[in-house]
Amino acid sequence: MLTAIGSLTLLGLVLGGLLGIASKYLKVEGNPLVIEVEEMLPGSQCGQCGFPGCGPAAEALADGKADVTLCPPGGRALAADLAKKLSVEVDLTSMEEKEPAVAFVNEDLCIGCTRCFAQCPTDAFIGAPKQIHTVIGEICTSCEKCIDICPTECITMQPLEATVQTWHWPKPKERRLAA
């Protein structure tokens, strides 16, 4: 009994240690720019850019194959940062700035099918089969993936309400001065 436990534990430790050492020696150094760009992206793997996740998107950005304005959740701020990082010129005025929003479940229509659970890249939905779902606003990245999958169309995007922490003075309206 004790030998069995001991030898298996030892075997596990030895194999784990060897794999650990091997992973150190066989580490593949990726392009440092790709890693830096990937850290700037939201990392929720929502796929709105058309790439499978933030990793492939970062690779395409570093190779110059993708536009810096590709990330809708990142918005204009991220596009500006990326343009600076990759030193490319970009016209940000054409980029639509979305209001910060979260998904909202209309509880009168929700049938508890849990389909939105599988879609959500950040696991912001809580609930159970045949129970009404709801969204944890702090986790939702407003990627809008859940909207199309809902069979009763009960999910809508709602603008975030300003709290004491997020409220700011409205920006002054642009005025054209008569020359």
Partner: protein, 193 residues
């Protein structure tokens, strides 16, 4: 020397893991749509099968037998196979990123290939020596690769054939696999083992 050749020939053709022993059928049906991926899968499996056959023999001889804990054989072998596969994945990623891209998800899936565990267990059952176990692994892996490539080639041809609707896809694949298995039974006339 001749007996070693006979082991390789015997395991690759006469006692083919896939078509005679019916082990490792999941990659045989799953990854055989294209010849390229079949070759990649065959090569990766060859590496893992050989290494795990050798290392599981060593474990049996120097750990399980001396302590009399043979009842832990399957558990130990699965542990070793998983570690070998993990190591293979890291090594392939380092040495040949292109091959790593081509193989993709198939590499980690070798862990669950029952041919790998089956060969390790058969080695113990047949009381092979270390070199014999190693050759048993190599032979089985060669047989696996050969069958994968043959079957993938057949399926590539088959995709152009006018198959009746109720047989199209997997059913005709199984029919072909059965016919291929019948054809491999012809090798038993070689009686090398």
């Amino acid at each position: 020397m001749q007996e070693y050749l006979l082991i390789i020939l015997g395991t690759a053709l006469v006692n083919n893991v896939v078509l005679v022993k019916f082990l490792g059928l999941c990659p045989f049906m799953g990854v055989s749509n294209k010849v390229d991926t079949a070759i990649g899968m065959g090569l990766a499996t060859t590496f893992v099968l050989t290494l795990s056959a050798a290392s599981s023999w060593l474990l049996e001889r120097f750990l399980l037998e001396p302590f009399g804990i043979e009842f832990l054989r399957i558990l130990t072998f699965i542990l070793v196979i998983a570690a070998v596969v993990q190591f293979t994945e890291m090594a392939v990623k380092k040495i040949s990123p292109v091959l790593y891209q081509v193989l993709g998800i198939f590499l980690p899936l070798i862990t669950t290939n029952c041919a790998v565990l089956g060969v390790a267990l058969l080695n113990i059952q047949e009381k092979n020596t270390f070199v014999e176990s190693l050759l048993y692994g190599v032979g089985s892996a060669l047989g696996f690769t050969l069958v994968m490539i043959i079957f993938a080639g057949l399926r590539e041809r088959l995709s152009f054939a006018d198959v009746p609707e109720s047989f199209a896809g997997a059913p005709i694949g199984f029919v072909v696999a059965g016919l291929l298995s019948l054809a491999f039974m012809g090798f038993s006339g070689l009686s090398v083992q």
